[in-house]
């Protein structure tokens, strides 16, 4: 199959124009549309939402090895639906894609998997929580509080145990995260407070690691506007205990649209409105034949944030069917810390 | 009269045409030997060829035993060569694929006139008794020419034509072959017309005609 096509469906689904023909709460194809005021129900919402077009379980972790070096790990499961239903058979319109990556200071490993719904090869459920594709697993006995995370490919593998040190965090308005000035939105919550320990392994051998992880859960039927061409997304954990999520959707015709959350150590969330913060590329690296900004300046005057963010390994390019940059970063300046940066649409 | 040649002319086409024979006339009696001498290009070989029906003349008359040769077709000429004429050339007289014995008898068999005792006699006279099963390429030049003489005489032709038969041989062998040829021709009662550039060889024959620029001088 042409996976690019699959991803086209998954990530850049044409939603905006469809909406005008549809009734409230669903688009022309019958997919559910996130509405302001929707409430999360757990543990059910940890599981899949087949009525929505797309969904993901997205975990990133900054690690420090027993060897004293920094590492990064990504584990992502995407769900995509051709139709808003799931009959549990091999013919269900639900499909799945997994991405796993490991970044070391010198190298970056990435792998992908695809699956049709209904076969059992991939899936997710809320209680007891599990999300998997093949033997890549993220599961826990108690909601999202305790997780076991594994992934394995020909060149690398990892296996770690995570424990949440704080509450779930809802982005936007109670999880209603607006993605454009036109009003496209998603349901979006996170668990940014994980500490973890485990093992990473490459051909060079196994390394015991500890660190911090951040899980994003997001589902939607209309992720991007027609003219939006990609995004730059940051999830940062500062040494003072605060956390910051900020993203900007680049637009080929209009100004970029930004949003985010300021998360205090106790889980208190402040929404970052468009225009109240600034993401400014400082320097680009040559990655797989293209220029990608791997050094940034982030300012958020409301909290006195003025930092430079730099990639741990600027070659953290997920050279997969749908290629994008995803890797660990280090912040310096007013708020030193660690985090993850994701950049898409730099084709 | 065995041979009567009258006003024979021969011109090779070309620019300008080459007039080789300009009205040559002579006669030869049966049993007589005649030498045709002359410089290179004097026309002596051509005259021999015309007489033997090997090349057509442009004009004149060649009568062999009273039969006109000039103007005959391929087949009639070939028949005359088969029956009445024996040829001995300077080289390549023999058929390489046949043995000495086969070569010796070949012309006689072609002419349909095989006289076995005569052939045996010839073989003995030529000293070829022990060479019968050899192939021409296994013989010396003198031996080859002796076979050629035998072959030419085996069919008891009326006329033997010889074109420099000793031309490729050394002096002594040449003498020997020459002597054999003349002796055996006489024994066979045939006429001999021999082309040679050597006055010494010509001396050995009954008569001599000298050709110069296509004319008898």
């Amino acid at each position: 199959m042409n996976v690019r096509a699959f991803l086209f469906c998954l990530l850049l689904a044409p939603a905006a124009h469809a909406q005008s023909f549809a009734g409230l709460g669903e688009d022309a194809d019958g997919f559910a549309i996130p509405q302001p005021g929707d409430q999360f129900v757990f543990p059910e919402d940890h599981g899949p939402h087949p009525a929505y077009r797309i969904e993901w379980w997205y975990l990133t972790a900054n690690l420090e090895g027993e060897d004293g070096r920094d590492y990064g790990v990504q584990w992502t499961l995407f769900r995509s639906a051709r139709e808003p239903r799931d009959d549990g058979s091999w013919q269900t319109p639900q499909t799945w894609m997994g991405h796993a990556a490991l970044t070391t200071p010198e190298a970056h490993f990435a792998a992908e998997r695809f699956a049709r719904g209904g076969s059992g090869q991939a899936g997710a459920r809320g209680e007891p929580f599990a999300a998997w594709i093949d033997d890549w697993r993220m599961e826990g006995p108690d909601g999202l509080r305790l997780l076991r995370l594994t992934a394995r490919d020909a060149a690398f593998s990892y296996d770690m145990a995570l424990e949440a040190q704080g509450p779930l965090v809802f982005h936007g308005d109670d999880g209603h995260s607006v993605k454009s000035a036109e009003g496209q939105a998603s349901r979006y919550y996170s668990q940014p407070f994980y500490t973890l320990e485990g093992t990473i392994e490459t051909a060079a051998g196994a390394v015991a690691v500890t660190g911090q992880a951040w899980l994003d859960r997001e589902y939607s039927s209309q992720p991007l506007g027609r003219t939006q061409s990609g995004w730059d997304w940051f999830a940062l954990t500062f040494e003072d205990g605060n956390r910051m999520m900020a993203f900007e959707l680049r637009d080929s015709e209009n100004a970029a649209f930004g949003s985010g959350s300021w998360i205090e150590a106790d889980g208190t969330v402040t929404k970052l409105e468009d225009g109240t913060f600034e993401l400014e590329p400082l320097g680009a690296a040559e990655v797989d034949g293209r220029r990608i900004p791997t050094r940034w300046r982030i300012t958020y005057p409301a909290r006195g944030v003025d930092i430079t963010v730099e990639a741990l390994n600027d070659q953290a390019w997920n050279d997969l069917a749908f290629a994008y940059w995803e890797g660990p970063v280090r912040a310096e300046g007013s708020h030193p810390g660690m985090g993850y940066l994701e950049m898409t649409g730099y084709e | 009269m065995l041979l009567s040649v009258k006003d024979v002319s021969k011109t090779f086409p070309g620019e300008p045409p080459l007039e080789v024979l300009k009205g040559v006339s002579f006669t030869l009696e049966a049993g007589q030997t005649l030498a045709l001498t002359g410089e290179s290009g004097s026309g002596k070989s051509t005259l021999l060829h015309v007489v033997g029906g090997l090349e057509p003349a442009n004009g004149g008359s060649v009568a062999l035993n009273g039969q006109e040769v000039v103007g005959l077709g391929d087949a009639a000429l070939a028949a005359i060569r088969r029956k009445d004429i024996g040829v001995i050339f300077q080289q390549f007289n023999l058929i390489p694929s046949l043995t000495v014995a086969q070569n010796l008898a070949f012309h006689a068999r072609l002419s349909g006139h095989v006289d076995a005792p005569w052939i045996t006699e010839l073989t003995a006279s030529l000293g070829l008794q022990t060479l019968g099963t050899r192939f021409p390429e296994q013989l010396s030049g003198g031996q080859q020419q002796r076979v050629a003489i035998g072959r030419a005489l085996a069919s008891k032709p009326a006329l033997v034509l010889a074109d420099e038969p000793t031309g490729n041989l050394d002096e002594n062998t040449g003498d020997e072959v020459m002597a054999l040829m003349v002796r055996l021709t006489r024994e066979a009662g045939a006429g001999l017309l021999m082309v040679t550039h050597s006055p010494a060889r010509a001396e050995a024959l009954d008569r001599r005609i000298h050709l110069s620029h296509g004319e008898i001088s």
């Binding site: 199959m1 096509a5 013919q91 394995r152 | 088969r82 390549f92 012309h107 072609l110």
Partner: protein
């Protein structure tokens, strides 16, 4: 110095344009046939490689149950969740088509799988039940194909869920194991077993003999071409002997002369090679559709009918042209280098080889024949294989070719005493003398004739056997396939009521001795008992089949597994029967077993119940056809005997179309070789002919004798080619066929074909001698006379 030397050398060709033409045409023709065959082979091989990547790489690793049974769908997720990267495939027969159900999400992309270029086509493939097939794949009633020219012929590919619906079985036949499995996987369950499946190589193996055939023809034509070039080059050298001598006398170093000769050969090779490659491309283009049809028809291998330019076969053509020209020139260069400036005046016959060389050559030939004989006698004991079969044929052909000159010489010496007149004696003696010079060309003729006889006899034997077999095998007059089980019940009732006998046809797939095969369940009926083409069987074979206590197998399985009567054969994991006989089954690459239908149905209850045959008066078929269509049977699912026969014979005819074309081409090249040799010899032969002429044989008579001589040589060569050709036919039928296809065919004599070929051989020889003979008839007497006087 160089330029003037070369000018002198080349001036020869201006005076002998026919010779130049012969040389260039000979080398070009040889290169062309070679290149053409290489191009065809390359194209076919590329197609197989493409097909081999169909389900992954050239070799594909498959995971099956140890007992060969299909697996439930859940197995897939179990394996994947263990970490094993596998992709499920279900395979089944749908009429004459193999339906392949795949999972496009886990199967790696491949050029011979559906191209799902956008999200929409993937979505439709998965959820809309799209079935893709090559345009030449037969229609299956009730299924609409989307045309996909990249798929193999005879295979329909669809999503696994669609396949489950169409096959009415929700199972996985096997898993494709993806390359690059993750690190440190847990072991596979004991019930499963990995096997290397060489999908592409399977086709390659099947078609190997066909390609070897083509390659052999290519070599043959090139060898023949070499004869031509050798003859023409040799003549050119001989004629320029005096020139070389003069050049050397004028102070040109030996080295320069030899370099010039080499340079000339190189130039000729370049020109002829380029011409030959161009011609070869045309030949390949003309033959490829036939080859594609052959491969498609016989093996189901899909080869496109159009040719792509590939530097490899072009380079191989150029290399052979070069090597050919150089090989033909090498002896000339050697001779030029050793030639004394003042050569002895004694003339030499270039064409004459001495008798000792002939005997050595013949001895070498006997060694070749002995090798062939040893392989023939012992091959079956050490599993000789296809290569050995062809080695044996090569030994036969080359051995015979090497012996030919001596054999001809002997034959002519036997004829010699029979000659009455002096001319006849001379003609035979002279032919004998000519044999060494003509031998290369006559060898070419011998090889071409022998291969013609051999291949022709094989094809004719095959055709006769095949036609007879199909008469027996297609005993039923009508073959009908229902679309559904309900329809099948109606159909059976209808056939019972309206025909002499309704015969349900029940088959299932299985593994026979480790390889995919089929089981046929047959009812006890006279159709089988009297008509089925059993080769070897127990006396009560049919009774035992009917009783379910014995199985018949097809010849392919019988030979491949070296079965004997009474050997046990495992049909299903828990079902074993003794073999009670074997039957011929031409055109089927798979193993097959035939058992009692009742027993088969008891073991495999879910067998497809859709196919029926019926016995009836063929005149009633049109009327019955209407009734059947009224029952809802698809028109395409009603086949009458005549149609099936025509189809089968058509496939057969196409199979040997290419062989026939190549036969004609090689014979033509052989005739050309004779022409070239005779032209060469004609000039050298004046000294042999001139004395005879001087002694009173006309030139026209001599010309006729030349023709007679050529005819004699041709006839003798043909007489020697006949047993050789039959040996080749035997090798093809009894060795190569068994190895390549798995069946052995009886050798049937076709004297009329041979007679026709004999006439053709005579015609070829005489036609080749015609121009030299005409030349002789028109030779000016002065040229003949020059022989006696000129210093050559």
């Amino acid at each position: 110095m160089w330029v003037s030397g070369l000018t002198a050398l080349l001036s020869h060709w201006r005076r002998h344009p026919l010779q130049l033409l012969t040389l260039v045409a000979g080398l070009a023709a040889a290169t062309a046939l070679w290149t053409g065959v290489q191009a065809i082979n390359a194209e076919a091989r590329a197609s197989y490689d493409e097909a081999a990547t169909a389900l992954g790489q050239g070799t594909e690793t498959r995971l099956t149950r140890r007992d060969g049974e299909a697996m439930p769908p859940e197995t897939f997720a179990e394996l994947r969740r263990m970490g094993w990267l596998v992709s499920p495939v279900v395979e089944g027969r749908l009429g004459r088509v193999t339906l392949v159900g795949i999972d496009p999400f886990t199967l790696p992309p491949s050029p011979t799988r559906p191209a799902l270029t956008d999200g929409e086509s993937l979505g439709r493939f998965v959820s809309d039940g799209i079935v893709q097939a090559h345009p030449e794949t037969l229609e299956v009633p009730g299924i609409t194909y989307e045309i996909a020219a990249n798929l193999p012929v005879g295979e329909a590919v669809t999503d696994i869920t669609t396949a489950w619906e169409l096959l009415d079985r929700e199972v996985i036949s096997y898993f494709v194991l993806l390359p690059n499995q993750p690190r440190g996987l847990p072991p596979l369950p004991d019930t499963l077993v990995l096997s290397e499946q060489d999908t592409g190589a399977e086709i390659a193996r099947l078609t190997r003999s066909f390609h070897l055939n083509l390659t052999a023809f290519g070599f043959l034509s090139f060898a023949v071409g070499l004869f031509i070039v050798h003859a023409a080059m040799g003549l050119a050298f001989e004629q320029r002997r005096a020139m070389f001598r003069t050049l050397r006398a004028l102070g040109l170093p030996t080295r320069t002369v030899t370099t010039l000769i080499a340079a000339e050969a190189l130039a000729l090779a370049t020109i002829s090679g380029a011409l030959g490659i161009g011609l070869g491309y045309l030949i390949a283009t003309a033959l490829l559709p036939g080859v594609a049809a052959t491969l498609g028809g016989l093996y189901g291998a899909s080869v496109p009918g159009s040719l792509t330019l590939d530097w490899r076969w072009m380079a191989s053509g150029a290399a052979l042209a070069f090597v050919g020209a150089m090989a033909a020139t090498a002896s000339n260069i050697w001779r030029a280098a050793r030639m004394p400036i003042l050569a002895p005046a004694r003339p030499r016959a270039w064409a004459m080889a001495n008798a000792r060389a002939l005997r050595w050559q013949a001895a070498a030939g006997l060694v070749f024949l002995a090798v062939a004989g040893i392989i023939a006698a012992t091959g079956h004991r050490w599993d000789a294989g296809l290569i050995a079969g062809f080695t044996m044929m090569g030994g036969l052909l080359f051995g015979a070719a090497l012996i030919l000159p001596l054999a001809l010489d002997a034959a002519l010496s036997l004829l010699q005493p029979l000659a009455k007149g002096p001319l006849a004696a001379w003609t035979i003696a002279d032919t004998r003398q000519q044999v060494p010079g003509l031998s290369l060309a006559l060898m070419a003729l011998l090889l071409a004739l022998a291969v013609n006889i051999g291949v022709g006899t094989m094809v004719s034997s095959f055709r006769a056997t095949f036609t007879g077999w199909i008469e027996q095998r297609l005993a039923s007059e009508l073959y009908v396939t229902a679309s559904t089980a309900d329809q099948a019940r109606e159909l059976e009732a209808f056939l019972e009521a309206n025909t002499d006998k309704a015969i349900p046809l029940r088959t299932t797939e299985t593994r026979l001795r480790g390889a995919p095969g089929d089981i046929l369940g047959v009812i006890d009926h006279v159709t089988y008992r009297d008509g089925w083409p059993l080769v070897v069987s127990e006396a009560d074979a049919w009774a035992r089949v009917a009783a379910g206590t014995g199985a018949l197998v097809n010849e392919q399985l019988w030979r491949r597994e070296e079965l004997s009567l009474g050997d046990p054969l495992r049909l299903l994991p828990a079902w074993e029967l003794p073999v009670v006989g074997y039957y011929t089954d031409y055109g089927n690459p798979r193993g097959q077993a035939m058992v009692g239908q009742a027993e088969l149905l008891a073991r495999v209850p879910d067998i497809s119940p859709l196919r029926y045959a019926a016995r009836l008066n063929p005149a009633r078929i049109p009327e019955l056809r209407e009734d059947l269509e009224a029952l809802g049977i698809q028109p395409g699912a009603i086949l009458d005997q005549a149609t099936v026969k025509r189809f089968s014979l058509d496939v057969f005819e196409r199979t040997f179309l290419v062989t026939g074309a190549l036969n004609v081409l090689t014979l033509g090249v052989a005739a050309f070789a004779i022409l070239a040799s005779l032209t060469t010899l004609g000039t050298m032969r004046l000294p042999q002919v001139a004395p005879v002429w001087a002694m009173g044989i006309t030139r026209s008579r001599l010309a006729w004798l030349e023709l007679a001589r050529a005819a004699l040589a041709g006839a003798l060569t043909f007489i020697l080619a006949l047993p050789l050709g039959l040996a080749v036919a035997w090798a093809l039928l009894a060795v190569v066929n068994v190895q390549a296809f798995g069946w052995r065919l009886p050798l049937l004599p076709f004297p009329l074909d041979w007679a026709r070929l004999g006439v053709l051989a005579l015609l070829a020889a005489v036609a080749a001698a015609l121009i030299p003979a005409l030349r002789l008839a028109r030779t000016d007497p002065s040229r003949l006379l020059k022989v006696f006087a000129d210093e050559r």
